[in-house]
Structure formats: C-alpha cells, structure tokens
C-alpha cells in the first residue's frame, strides 16, 4: 500500500527543504539533431527538492536539455544524446535502464496543456493504472482525489469527475496535467514552459501551485518569463546558443550576474 501512504502524506503540509543531496547530474551532455549540434556539453547538478529554472532566448537549448532528463528526446527520430545523466547516481542512458520506469520517476508537464480525450478521473487514473500502483477502486479514488487536491483543482472539478478533461479551461487543463504527473508519485517533475499558453490569472495560479509543490519534489522549470523564474525558483540556469552560461542562486543571478551575456539578457538587451 505504498501509494496510499504516499498520498496521505501528500495531504499534509510538507516541510521538506532542499536536503543538499544531488538528485540529478549531467556531465558533458551533447544533443545532435541529425548533423547539427544543439547542445555543446552541459554540466549541471540539480539538488533534491529544489526548484531550478532554465531561462534563455528561444532556441538556446533549454527545452532540449530538459527533455534529456527523462529521455523524451528518444521519441524524436533524428535526435542523438551523448554524455552522462545521473539520477540518484544511476546513469539514465544506461542500456539496462528501463526508460518506462525512468519516466515514472521523472514526470513531465508540457508547454501546451495536453489532457487525454478521456474523463477527468481517467486522466488522473491513467498513470497509476499503467504502473499498477493501486489495486482497488477505493485506492484509485483516493489517489485521484489527493492528486487533484495537490494540484488545487479538486474543489473545481469534484462534482464532474466524469466530464471530459478537454472541456476544462486552459489553466484548469494545465493543472489537470500537473495532477496527472503527480499521480504516479514522481521524484522529479520537469515543466516545459508550463504557463506559456495561459492567461495571467491562470499563470499566477500555476505559480502558486509550483510554490506549494516546492519541497516535496525536485522541480525543473523552463520558462521564457524572467519574472516567473525570479518568483518561483531557488536556482536559475541561463542558457545561450546551446551552452550553459551561468547557474547560480536565483537572487544572485538577477541582482549580481557574473557573466556579461546573462546581464544583457536579464536586463532585456537581447532575447
């Protein structure tokens, strides 16, 4: 009954803080799309239960690097990844590793809300059912409820769990997708510009949600919005032309950038 315990634990307020333990680390990660090199060797450590934001101009490779962290680049025919990515000191590109289980541990929320054309309930139940996390209908009900509560959507949808997920508003859909990711109890959640398709109100709700999730999960967020990075993240990484230029505490990056390019970008001189 591992999941049930986990979900009741989630209902309480989590006080976990960044533990200082390295959750994921990348060493000399390069990505090739066919002949062209999109990432030129990235080194990065991501600590447990911290929120790290990737910023940078369009095409700088931040999304590409994000997709390396749960091997979503595998689904693109021409993409090839070299280097090493460790999750809890285990190489995720090791042939013996099961990519399906990796993606259950490292969940992902996409740029455009992409609920399945199924009911709200089925959207959440999809992952737990795939991985056999629950056995009875009652346990499933609990997981669905706790995931939706976690994503701040429960009060809005509890009376219409059988309604199609595609019928929700954009912001609700995105929270549904976050709830869907939470339902499989991932350790790391990757968010690829989760607010870029949303209006300002929906965006602020998602940002509050990210704030609540902080401490329970390791969160990696790609964003175009520098205020958003400043608001939600502990650390910020600045990417430019396929290179990691600077990675530091968020307030350091925004008040005292070390690199000239970072400074130019955050002061709006290019990008």
């Amino acid at each position: 009954m591992k999941t049930v315990k986990l979900s009741s634990e989630r209902l309480g307020v989590s006080n976990k803080q960044p533990s200082g333990k390295i959750k994921m680390s990348a060493r000399d990660v390069k990505v090739f799309y066919g002949e062209s090199e999109a990432l030129h060797g990235i080194d990065m450590d991501i600590y447990e239960n911290e929120v790290i934001a990737f910023i940078g101009p369009s095409g700088c490779g931040k999304s590409t690097f994000l997709r390396c962290l749960n091997r979503m680049n595998d689904t693109i025919d021409v993409a090839k990844v070299t280097g090493q990515v460790l999750l809890d000191e285990q190489d995720i590109y090791d042939p013996s590793l099961d990519v399906v289980q990796l993606r259950a541990r490292v969940g992902m929320v996409f740029q455009k809300p992409n609920p399945f054309p199924k009911s709200i309930y089925e959207n959440i139940a999809y992952g737990p059912r795939l991985h056999g996390l629950v056995e009875t209908r009652r346990e499933m009900d609990e997981v669905v409820e706790s995931s939706l509560r976690r994503a701040g959507l429960w009060e809005e949808v509890k009376d219409r769990l059988d309604a199609p997920g595609t019928g929700l508003s954009g912001g609700q859909q995105q929270r549904l997708c976050i709830a869907r990711a939470i339902a499989v109890s991932p350790e790391v959640i990757l968010m690829d510009e989760p607010c870029s398709a949303l209006d300002p109100i929906a965006t602020s709700i998602i940002e509050e949600l990210i704030d609540e999730l902080k401490g329970s999960y390791t969160l990696v967020i790609v964003t175009h919005n520098m205020q958003q990075a400043a608001r939600v993240s502990d650390k910020t990484a600045f990417f430019h032309l396929g290179n990691l230029i600077e990675l530091n505490k968020t307030d350091e990056i925004f008040t005292n950038p070390q690199d000239k390019k970072t400074e130019d970008y955050i002061t709006g001189r290019f990008g």
Binding site: N70, M72, T75, D77, V100, Q101, L102, R103, A104, G107, M108, F110, K112, N114, P115, F116, P117, K118, Y126, G127, L130, H131, T166, C177, R180, A181, V184
Partner: protein
C-alpha cells in the same frame, strides 16, 4: 453549318472579341492630350469581359435550342397529321411513327414501304429542321454581335471589368459543381422511375422480404415458381462484405499503426505507396486471382481439415475483396492516426507508458471515430463491388448461412438481369433497377454515417 464548325467559329469569335476588348482598353490608357489615365481594371479583364459577352449568350442559345427544338418540331408534325390517322394511334404507335419519319428524313430508309402520310411528314420534318437551324444561327449571330458591340462600347477607364470577371468565375464554378450534384439526382430519379415500373409488376413486400430468388419467365406449368425476393441477394452481399471486413480491418489497421507509429520515415515512404497500389489493381484482376489462386487454395486448405469449401464461395470472394479494401482502411486510418496531436503521445510517454500502451490507450481511442469512418467507407466499397463476386462467389442465389457455399449478391444479379436478350419492359430486367436503387440507398446511408463521424472527429482537434 455543322456543330463542329459552329464550335470553331465560336472559338474564333472568342479570340477576336478578346483582342478587340484588349486593344480598345489599351488605347484608353492615354487620353487625347497624351496624359496617362489609370484604368480601374487591367486590359486583360476588359478583353475577357468582351469575349464573355460575345460568346457565352450565343452558346447558351445554342444549348437551349438543341434541347427544345426536337420536341417543338414533333408537336408541329403531329398537329398537321390527318384526323383519320391520328384517331387509331396509341402512344407507342406514335413513338414508332416518329422514329420512322426520322429515319426517312435522314435518308436512312425503312425496311418496308413508307405510307404516303409518313413521306409527307418526313418531308415536313426536314424542312422544319433546316428552318430551325437557320433560325438558331441567326439568333446566335445577332446575340454575338450585340454582345460584342455593347460590351465593347462599355469599355471605360472606370469600368469594373475585374470585379465583373470575378462574378463570372464564381458562376462558372457553381455551374460545375451543380453538374456533379444534378447528375447524382438524375441517376437516382431514373433508377427510381424504372424501379416504380418494376413495382407495378411485383409487390414491394414480396421484393423486400421474399426469400426466393427465381426470376424466370412464367410459362405453362411454372406458375408459383417465380420469385423476386431480394433477401438471398442482400444476405449474400452482406455476408461477403462482412468476410471482407473481417480480413481487412485487422490487417489494414495493424498496417496503419505500423506505418504511422513504428516505421522509420524511409520505410514509410516506400511501403505506403506499395500498399496503395493494391487499390489501383483493376477489380477484374482480383477476380482472376480469386478464381484461379485463392479459391482452389482455400478449397484444398479446407480439405485438410475435413471441411468442404467450394472453390467459388462466399469465403473466396470475401477474402479477396478483403485484400482489395485493405488500402482503403490502412491509408485512411494512417492519415487519421497521424493527425492525433503529438502532444497527446508525449503526455502518455511522459507518464511512463510504453509505445504500445500509448497507442492502445490514447492514440487509438482518440482516432477511433475517424477509423470507424474509414471502415464504413471501405464497407460501402465492398458492398458495391461487382467483378470479384461475379467471378468468385459462385452465383447461386440461395439463402444460406454457410460461407463455404456459393452465394450471389445484388451486384452480380444486376449484371445477370441486364445482360442477354431481354425485353427491357419485363420485370426480369426491371428488377435490376429496384436492386440498384436498394444498393444505392444502402451505400448512401453508410457513406453519410461515415462522413458524419469523420466530421465530428475533425472538430475535436481544430
């Protein structure tokens, strides 16, 4: 003047009128004092407009005249026939009479000696035809001249020739689509008329619900043996189509899933056209294939299991027809599966689903309405298919549930009833129209349902 020459003259007139319009409008670009004048429309539009007004009304008169003249002339001839002859004529006599004088006047001659009143009428017919033609030419010429003159006169820097041509184009497009629609309606009406004539002989209840198909001529001693019951044929059609779908749905769908989800783009770009070649093979070739290869194979294959499968049977025809409709299902489903947004797949894969789980639980449910539409389209194709069943189904119109037996279908029966030496007014051949109409209604319904489903599916992702 023959019609071909007339067409040539019209074409020349078209070119001439265009040139005239073009030249006049070009001249207008500078006024008397040598100043540049801006035309509202470029000279080509002025030319086209003049050409349009010169040729199109004249051509319209030509079409209308051709359509109306024969009827009018026949009426005139009948009107002058002596009372004594008219009195003894029935409708069919009248038709024969009109055909005879047409032959006489065209110099075709008759097998027997023409009657004096026929000769007289034939002479009148020739005269009327010549006059009618001359009248038509005169009318066309005057219309063309008037059109040319007035539209040429109208050319002016401010004339909105461009906008007017736009309207002409729109009307032409509407006319072309009406041709397609009117043809469909015409086919239905003509089938409907003939089918009604059939139902004058046979009770519709006996036709739609009768279980005996035996449309022979009634002679002494065979009363009560004839039957125009459609059910054995309908059942044969349905059974063969079902067998075809049983073959084509799994194979076509799996092929589509492989093509859209698994195949590398190189394989896909080669394999997909090859599968589609199946759709281009003439159905008569499938018929040979069924008769010579598949039938004997199934027969001997069944024999090894102690099954008695006839070489020409519902099974043979169904299997081969299934192969024929594979590309309809695979190609359409492939397009539909590819249309399912990538974000849905990513969402499922990102939750840790395998590729086949993603296909089964997310992609196929999302694509299902479209796939059902594809299957229904393939089914209506299977129901209307003729050549394969003519050759391979065995042509035995009995009501049987055994797919290893020979059956017959509606299409095969239509062919049988309409070929050979038959009187077109007898129920034996008229029944073909009733069958055709039924078949048309069935496939129409299937197509409508398929289209509705496909359209609903499209809306989901737009």
């Amino acid at each position: 003047m023959s019609n071909l020459m007339l067409a040539g003259v019209l074409l020349m007139l078209l070119a001439l009128a265009y040139q005239l319009g073009l030249t006049r409008s070009r001249k207008l670009t500078t006024d008397l004092s040598g100043q540049k004048v801006r035309l509202h429309s470029r000279p080509v539009y002025h030319g086209a407009l003049v050409a349009f007004w010169t040729v199109v009304p004249a051509f319209g008169v030509f079409l209308l005249w051709r359509f109306i003249q024969p009827g009018v002339i026949n009426q005139m001839i009948i009107a002058q026939l002596p009372e004594a002859i008219m009195a003894g004529m029935t409708d069919s006599d009248m038709r024969v009479f009109l055909r005879r004088i047409t032959h006489l006047s065209s110099g075709f001659g008759l097998s027997d000696q023409p009657q004096p009143h026929e000769l007289q009428a034939a002479e009148l017919l020739s005269v009327l035809q010549v006059r009618g033609h001359a009248l038509m030419l005169a009318l066309m010429a005057s219309l063309a001249a008037a059109g040319l003159y007035f539209s040429w006169q109208q050319i002016h820097p401010d004339l909105r020739a461009r906008n007017q041509m736009e309207r002409v184009v729109k009307v032409a497009l509407i006319a072309c689509s009406s041709v397609a629609i009117l043809t469909t309606i015409g086919i239905v009406l003509s089938m409907f008329g003939e089918a009604m004539r059939f139902f004058a002989f046979v009770n519709p209840m006996d036709f739609f619900f009768g279980t005996t198909w035996n449309p022979r001529f009634q002679t002494a001693g065979t009363e009560g043996q004839t039957g125009f019951g459609m059910l054995p044929l309908l059942w044969g059609t349905v059974m063969i189509a079902l067998i075809a779908l049983l073959v084509a749905i799994p194979v076509g769908l799996m092929a589509a899933i492989y093509m859209s989800e698994y195949a590398p783009s190189r394989v896909r770009s080669v394999a997909k056209p090859i599968i589609e070649v199946l759709a281009g093979i003439p159905t008569i070739v499938y018929g040979f294939f069924a008769l010579i290869t598949v039938g004997p194979f199934l027969s001997s294959f069944g024999a090894t299991f102690g099954l008695d499968i006839r070489a020409t049977s519902a099974l043979t025809a169904g299997v081969v027809m299934g192969i024929m409709i594979i590309p309809f299902i695979s190609s359409l489903s492939d397009d539909i599966i590819t249309q399912v947004p990538r974000s849905l797949r990513d969402g499922s894969l990102g939750l840790g689903a395998t590729q086949s789980e993603t296909i089964r639980k997310v992609v196929l449910p999302a694509a299902l309405p479209g796939i059902v539409g594809a299957i229904l389209l393939a089914a209506s194709r299977a129901i209307g298919e003729t050549m394969i069943v003519v050759l391979a189904a065995g042509n035995s119109p009995v009501l049987t549930a055994n797919p290893f037996e020979a059956v017959s279908t509606m299409t095969v029966t239509i062919v049988n009833q309409l070929t050979g030496d038959l009187d077109f007014a007898s129920p034996q051949s008229l029944v073909a129209f009733a069958l055709g109409l039924t078949l048309f209604v069935i496939t129409l319904l299937l197509n409508v349902i398929a289209l509705v489903i496909v359209r609903k599916y499209r809306e989901q992702y737009e």
